[in-house]
Assembly symmetry: C2
Homo-oligomer: 195 residues x 2
Amino acid sequence: RLFSAEKVIHKDWALPNPSWSKDLKLLFDQFMKKCEDGSWKRLPSYQHRSTQISEDFKTYFLDKPLNNENKVSQIVQLFTRGFEDGLGFEYVIFSNNDEKRTVCLFQGGPYLQGVPGFLHGGAMATMIDTALGSCATIPGGAIMTANLNINFKRPVPLCSVVVINSQLDKLEGRKLFLSCNVRSVDEKTLYSEAT
Amino acid sequence: RLFSAEKVIHKDWALPNPSWSKDLKLLFDQFMKKCEDGSWKRLPSYQHRSTQISEDFKTYFLDKPLNNENKVSQIVQLFTRGFEDGLGFEYVIFSNNDEKRTVCLFQGGPYLQGVPGFLHGGAMATMIDTALGSCATIPGGAIMTANLNINFKRPVPLCSVVVINSQLDKLEGRKLFLSCNVRSVDEKTLYSEAT
């Protein structure tokens, strides 16, 4: 049974591990300090999603029953958490619900390469989708990306740390409008913008 | 040395392996038949890009030298080819240069999960970027995605096969304009459209 509760593994991946660079650890510590007064909170991250999210999703977005539940392998993993420490997506997201924004700290490892020396555009798109998604959950309820529009300004060097600032711009019925930018740790380099 | 020629591994990943479903093998065989008269060709796919591509890229797109060449691990891998057979991105791209279009056959494995039972939007974005990129290379020269705009119509069931039809719409100086759609094998379901 793919969606059974026993498949939920409780390791929280949004915590430092030895692969984290000095930049990533420093930023993490800064945001953990901001969490102390309750204005910000760190979002935990698990390899397998809960049954409840799955059920919500099916209720909201599917007009016919899934036909692949039995075929799908037992070894499913959340795309962004399927890599060994440091090789893939190392990230943590902090959320400020009052200000309706999130900050994602992201270090892309050597298995995410596109053009040699740089992050694959798809890996950046994946992290942008994840960051915007985290911001879209602030109002509550099941969400699914309907449109993703990314401007890639500069390629991101592999193994560097970037900061993704996302915000909820507008609510129109069930539609949410969000935007984000991807910058270097010193904020001087704008890598991407997306809505 | 990250970019040295000896790192280029010659295994061609765009060929059937035991994880390929009947749908994927059938479509592969159909397109291989179309290759016989030379109108279509199968694009090979390697885990490591060649030194030449790397040098082209640096010449065209970087205004300052890379500073991470020595820091980056030896174990870099092309994002879409870093998974064991069947777990990640299984795909092959066929190109029709006269018609300036490509067809990408894609089966997304269990390590690409987003919402339970479905492909992660970022994995779909990655494959769309790859498919559009393959079409952008038809005129020749180094390319980099400047903008990627995706409309997600329906979520893609995990382990199913989709067909990505890409075409080159317009050339404006160094800018290329491309579009694609993602459909089920029977063409009845439109999963995504992108430019």
